[in-house]
Amino acid sequence: MIKNISNLGDAALYCDFGNEVNKSINSQVIKYFKTIKEKKFEGINNLTPSYNKLIISYDLKKTNFKEVKNYVENINAQDSKDINSKKLEIPVCCHENFSMDIKRLEEILKLSREKILENFLNKEYFCYMTGFIAGMPFLGDLDENMRAQRLETPRVKVPKGSVALTEQFANIYTFESPGGWNILGNTPLDVFDSSKEDKPNLINPGDTVIFKEITLDQYKNYNEQ
């Protein structure tokens, strides 16, 4: 349930579901997200579900904080019917050309490169949310001994396809973009396709993902097959 509602600026509601990150809280967020999205309240536009927060943006020309808050407080969030989750295998190349932060990770985690890769690859991940850049999946959870903080100053350009870690999460940069996550490898797969307007994301909240290591040659040939 929503623990607290406050304002984020003058054109968004900040719905707080708690501080923990787990599937149970995340599914509450998704439940509210889907219910509000279907109801199409006049003035509400963007909705951003994340691990344990839901941000509801609205058009300040049409409504305001008080009205939207009142609406959300009285909503009866329904369990969503369409749990259509997939299991996906994502190829990743961890050659030194791509693993830009492996040294930093070795230092922070006090683990060898081999051990970091072994831990990372022998794991099934759950997609909590998508966003930051179009289609980027936020995958969890990494084991306790694999958790590192973001870079102090985010990079201005992270290469497209980068597979990166922060805290208990992994993600994939679907485009070249600024970003502060620790880069471990790169996937040749297109995780976002804007030509599919109704389903542009390969990975969606609720899906499970495993990473499969490929060599540099396999990476280079991947899109030619």
């Binding site: 304002n7 600026g9 951003t48 344990n52 904080f65 600024p178």
Partner: protein, 314 residues
């Protein structure tokens, strides 16, 4: 096939098609996009008798040099922009907020914006553009929108589908007011910062860095010290959010921003000041002033009324 078209002789630094943007796709990671300075976008369309949500050409700093071919059409430029219109025998110095009629062979040369960032070129036409999610706005990071999601390039041709029958010449007197104080509402992680850090945020000057674009505006100045945690669990962002990463330098989210972020939010720019914020060029001084939610709502209402007035008078 079209008999009316534009040829891009010089594209400028960051020239894109923009309209009202996309307002319902944050959950898959697609930001608003759309014209950065909404008021100047609307005025530009009104000056050439367009629907207010029509596509315009947005440019930053140096603008495009364009050659027009086809039947007579109106054009107008808004913002604070230096440009000229070259006709057969003459070259006239252009004035913003006035429409001009151009004809076959005429050229529009947009030299640069003046102490500001964005300018808008509207034509009284319907451009032949691809729409994605009901908008032609170009998002160059995700390659979404018209022109394959890329900036306009030299040598390319843009076809026009339709030319407005209303060719009335319009003019308005509008002056872009510059502001140094940007009004902000306290962010959801305001208490992550030290007392000294909070004081710095509201009392000291920051400088707009060169590393600013349609995604975000980076600021430089005294460091804002975080005493709780320099990371938060990633969560949604909106236009105008001011995040402070571990290095203590604030970053303001702009129209092409990432939809999710993990740095603490010290504040959010009030909607009333967004159009003027985006026009602050690198090197500009910026100071934040706190306001509460109800004042922010009232000020936006007044700003919006003023915009509607300006448009209705054109």
């Amino acid at each position: 096939m079209s008999n009316n078209y534009l040829d891009i002789i010089r594209p400028g630094i960051n020239t894109t098609f923009q309209d009202k943007g996309r307002d319902h796709l944050y959950h898959i990671g697609i930001p608003f996009s759309g014209a950065m300075d909404n008021r100047n976008y609307l005025i530009a369309n009104k000056l050439v008798n367009n629907n207010l949500d029509s596509a315009v050409i947005e440019f930053a700093y140096q603008g495009p040099h364009i050659k027009y071919s086809g039947e007579k059409v109106n054009c107008a430029i808004t913002g604070d922009v230096i440009f000229s219109i070259k006709k057969k025998d003459t070259e006239i110095e252009g004035k913003c907020y006035e429409s001009y009629q151009i004809e076959n062979g005429d050229e529009i040369n947009i030299i640069s914006t003046n102490k500001s960032v964005y300018g808008y070129l509207a034509l009284g036409v319907e451009f032949d553009l691809k729409f994605q999610w009901n908008s032609c706005s170009i998002n160059t990071k995700a390659n979404i929108g018209s022109n394959d999601g890329k900036k306009l390039d030299a040598g390319q041709r843009i076809n026009l589908k339709k030319i407005n029958s209303n060719k009335d010449i319009k003019k308005t007197n509008y002056i872009n007011t510059k502001i140094e104080n940007i009004r902000v509402i306290k962010g959801t992680n305001f208490d992550y910062f030290s007392e000294e850090g909070k004081k710095i945020f509201y009392e000291k000057e920051f400088i707009v860095s060169k590393l600013s674009d349609r995604m975000g505006m980076r600021l430089e100045g005294p460091k804002i010290d975080n005493i709780v945690n320099t990371n938060i669990k990633s969560e949604g962002l909106i236009k105008g959010v001011i995040q402070v990463p571990a290095d203590g330098n604030p970053i303001i989210m702009l129209s092409d921003h990432g939809t999710i972020g993990g740095y603490p939010k010290i504040g959010v720019v009030a909607s009333v000041d967004y159009d003027r914020l985006v026009q602050m060029s690198p090197g500009s001084k910026i100071k934040f002033k706190e306001i509460n939610l109800s004042d922010a709502e009232t000020l936006f209402k007044l700003y919006e009324m003023e915009t509607q007035n300006l448009i209705s008078q054109i």
